[in-house]
Symmetry: C2
Subunit: 336 residues, 2 copies
């Protein structure tokens, strides 16, 4: 029979809360009491668990990651960063998938109300769910939004998507491209509008007229990249010399269509993506893309929650990105 | 100030354990007591959390997933399955990455001892760590191993890797291939030996002599697939007409090398993988592979832990796999 916190408290002649305080190394416990509790715990081979630790401190030592995201590599990267911050502080990460539709339903309130974690990390597209943010405020649960679009009333960890898309488009223009296709991301994601903004601004500053036909819908999935590419590349006499997809999965879709149509990348078509997920180096030729600080965003989001900053003090933390130039754009528009 | 379980207990005139029992819907609480506790909890706007729920029942309602795996899609798939089982039973999933080296160190015991979860899911290569399994037994923590090699003394959820590799190799032989290269997985993973076994058995049964030069080392990473393919395809006059890689990432590496060397897949080289991860459909041509029941294994592992079967009763649960035939093997050895 495993010893419980009650057994330790009884035998040491103190309350369960005192045992919990000792286990958490909290101040305001007399040394004699602390020693007695530790001695009893050792003699009973008592192993404190999260529930026992959380009892007195009103901390759960848990952070929850809420997500609805098809990209496995994005989510595992956020996880890794968040876990790194958790480990350093004795916290643990709970995984809570939540479809975007559910986030806007009463179910979400029930689920979150029962959770009782010390903080919640919201990832796109949940980062921009007004309903979800309201629920979290009502429940008095601290939360940080990763890469939200609306940042006026929330702790946020982000990068400058518009600036990154601007720089990538400018790079393509410097390579000699003027006929550039663009594939949009999922309409629910804040980054989608920002990346489009940066793309259009770069064309505008270079004096290139925007061709609306060459802005194609997508939803961040590989399949939507295939469909967009089939549209953009349908006319052999009038097609872009470069395609900028709003993420790597869609860029991989473009390269798959190009392969099928016999259009060489990068000789006849430059392709670039966004995110620098592992797929960017797995496809051939390797993909030019934007390295998002995904791991760092996860780390920073968890760190903010653990440090328990004042929740009334909205705070935006903007992290750096990097353009990664690989083979998929080293062609130039020569064959056109 | 948020109401705590102590506030509810005090105002209802019961112990914290009784409050916890009521919150968990446990039997052996008088209806009058139950009603009073619920009334007080509502009036104080008390929101139970995991710590409060776990107090009386000695359950934590937490399952931990231990992993050290480079493949994001494998881990997210296991996660999804495990979370599905957790959700149905009011449990939550904790993520605990643990490098294989750490699993064999005293750190692992400290980390796991503090965790206090109701069960632990071990994923490859941790599934086969004897040290880790010993620690878990010493700590009296229930655990299930996903796809272990040594199954005599542990609850296990697995598929028949040897049989799957046997069937895939037999399929390649039926397509007319006799010169088949094989790329091994990571030596720490139990599946690596099983898949090799199935490959060799199929050659043997077809009366094809094994060419040791065409069994190439790998570690499940894309990069190791590239290196193995560079070796296997180095001699234009004597190279395999098919390559069977022990996972999809390495198969993608083979296709990348083939692309660079101008070897058409599948016309001049058939390629197949193992796992049916999303990459199998993202690369072009799409990859023939083995669909592992990864999601189901995660679901089943968590279900076993939640149901609290007798831990002294080792039990093996073998789930079905499926060969998925796609374009990457539809060539046959015609051009040789």
């Amino acid at each position: 029979m495993k010893a419980t916190i009650t057994d330790v408290a009884k035998q040491a002649g103190v309350s369960m809360k005192t045992v919990s305080r000792v286990l958490n190394n909290e101040p305001n416990v007399a040394k004699a009491t602390r020693d007695r509790v530790m001695e009893v715990a050792a003699s009973l081979q008592y192993r404190p668990n999260l529930a026992a630790r959380g009892l007195a401190s009103s901390k759960s030592y848990l952070i929850a990651l809420l997500y609805d995201n098809a990209s496995a590599s994005y989510i595992t990267n956020i996880q890794r960063g968040a876990i790194e911050a958790c480990r350093r502080n004795g916290y643990h990460l709970l995984l809570e998938p939540m479809p975007y539709e559910q986030a806007n339903s009463p179910e979400a309130e029930i689920l979150l109300g029962r959770l009782g974690v010390d903080g919640v990390i919201l990832t796109p597209p949940l980062s921009d769910s007004v309903v979800l943010r309201d629920i979290l405020r009502r429940l008095d649960m601290r939360h940080v939004a990763v890469a939200p679009n609306k940042m006026d009333d929330v702790h946020a960890v982000r990068m400058d998507d518009a600036e990154a898309a601007f720089q990538m488009t400018t790079y393509l223009i410097e390579q000699g491209h003027r006929d550039i296709g663009f594939i949009l991301g999922h309409p629910n994601h804040g980054a989608t509008a920002s990346r489009r903004l940066g793309f259009e601004k770069a064309l505008n500053e270079a004096g290139i007229k925007l061709n609306e036909d060459w802005i194609s819908a997508g939803d961040f999935s590989f399949r939507s990249g295939v469909q967009a590419a089939e549209h953009l590349l349908s006319n052999p006499d009038n097609r872009p010399t470069a395609i900028f997809a709003s993420n790597d999965d869609m860029a991989a879709g473009v390269m798959s269509v190009a392969g099928r149509l016999g259009i060489s990348v990068p000789e006849a078509l430059s392709v670039c993506g966004f995110d620098d997920t592992p797929i960017a180096q797995i496809i051939w030729p390797q993909l030019t893309t934007v390295a998002q600080p995904i791991h760092k965003m996860g780390f920073k989001a968890a760190s903010i929650l653990i440090s328990r900053d004042n929740p009334d003090d909205p705070k935006i933390c903007t992290l750096d990105f990097e353009l990664i130039i690989r083979e998929s754009t080293l062609g130039g528009p020569l064959l056109k």
